[in-house]
Symmetry: C2
Subunit: 189 residues, 2 copies
């Protein structure tokens, strides 16, 4: 059972309200490129992240707007910024780390920073084909010089999803995985 990898670089999702604060009133995010998941896109807009210790510039905004602002970074980024975000599924900001987001027109500071949990996007077709269960975990196996197994990859089933595993840049770089590489899925007991 193979799946393609989408490597997620650091990025932010914004509410309509936060777009207005960061980019100006009634500002509309502009699409730079479609992403592999249906309806999701990288925007031309970028922001700056500020943590307790340091700053990271040129962080991509993803569209469309969501109902809560969410900053997804790697553990490596978190050391640079000087914050300690929890590992969370997208949408779960419980105990998310405080972070400042700076745009050309304003800035916001909120508990919005997480390290995205490893996850596998599955549509109904692949779910039936492979017997995958929504919200259960699988593992990913990588065969190369720095190979191994990545546990706790959360299954997310939705009709609109493209079959793809999402890993952050720390996981990808530790295992020498590039965007689009194929990896093996292992069902956990």
């Amino acid at each position: 059972m193979k799946v393609k990898v989408g490597v997620s670089a650091r990025h932010v999702h914004l509410t309509k309200e936060d777009v207005n604060i960061l980019f100006g009133k009634n500002y509309i995010l502009t699409k730079k490129a479609d992403l592999s998941q249906f309806g999701q896109y990288a925007c031309n807009e970028q922001i700056t992240l500020i943590g307790a210790k340091n700053t990271i510039k040129n962080v991509r905004v993803l569209g469309p707007e969501r109902n809560q602002t969410q900053v997804e970074i790697s553990k490596t980024d978190s050391y640079k910024l000087g914050i300690n975000p929890p590992v969370r599924n997208s949408g779960d900001l419980d105990n998310a780390a405080l972070i400042t987001i700076v745009g050309p027109c304003g800035q916001i500071t909120k508990k919005a920073a997480i390290i995205a949990a490893r996850h596998l996007h599955v549509n109904k077709q692949e779910q039936i084909k492979y017997g995958l269960i929504n919200k259960k975990n699988v593992s990913i196996k990588v065969n190369n010089e720095k190979g191994g197994i990545l546990n706790n990859v959360s299954i997310r089933v939705d009709d609109n999803y493209s079959y793809e595993v999402h890993l952050d840049t720390d996981d990808a770089n530790a295992f020498l995985i590039k965007n689009g590489d194929e990896v093996e899925i292992i069902i956990e007991d």
Copy 2:
């Protein structure tokens, strides 16, 4: 079978000749702190690395001098620098990536950059206790939210070694491992 982790940040080992070029004729490296492996130390001296695309400043020099200059970086660093170093055991610079090292008095450009292979330092006592074989591979198991298994951890036996597994910052950050954490060793078939 447990072992402590030493997380290796990017660093360089220098020959006496290259110390002279980078820091000046007859320059002697100065110790900042002992490292866990006998006789090895972090120096006060730092250098700048320059790749095809970018620069990384404040890279630590490790002492004492060696018989070849070796630059150890992570895959994440290699993307920033714009070079493509191979995964190698320390001392093996076969097809190492071209890199420029800049010191206060001069600079050198040579094929010296590698991504250090995961490795387990073992002394004779631990070797006998656990039945570990020099140059064979073991795996490391990590139990946490971003846990899993790291394969291809090369065993290195020497009487002077302290029992410790060395991982680079990509591996450590992907698995939320900190310097000094304990992980489990798994013998590979």
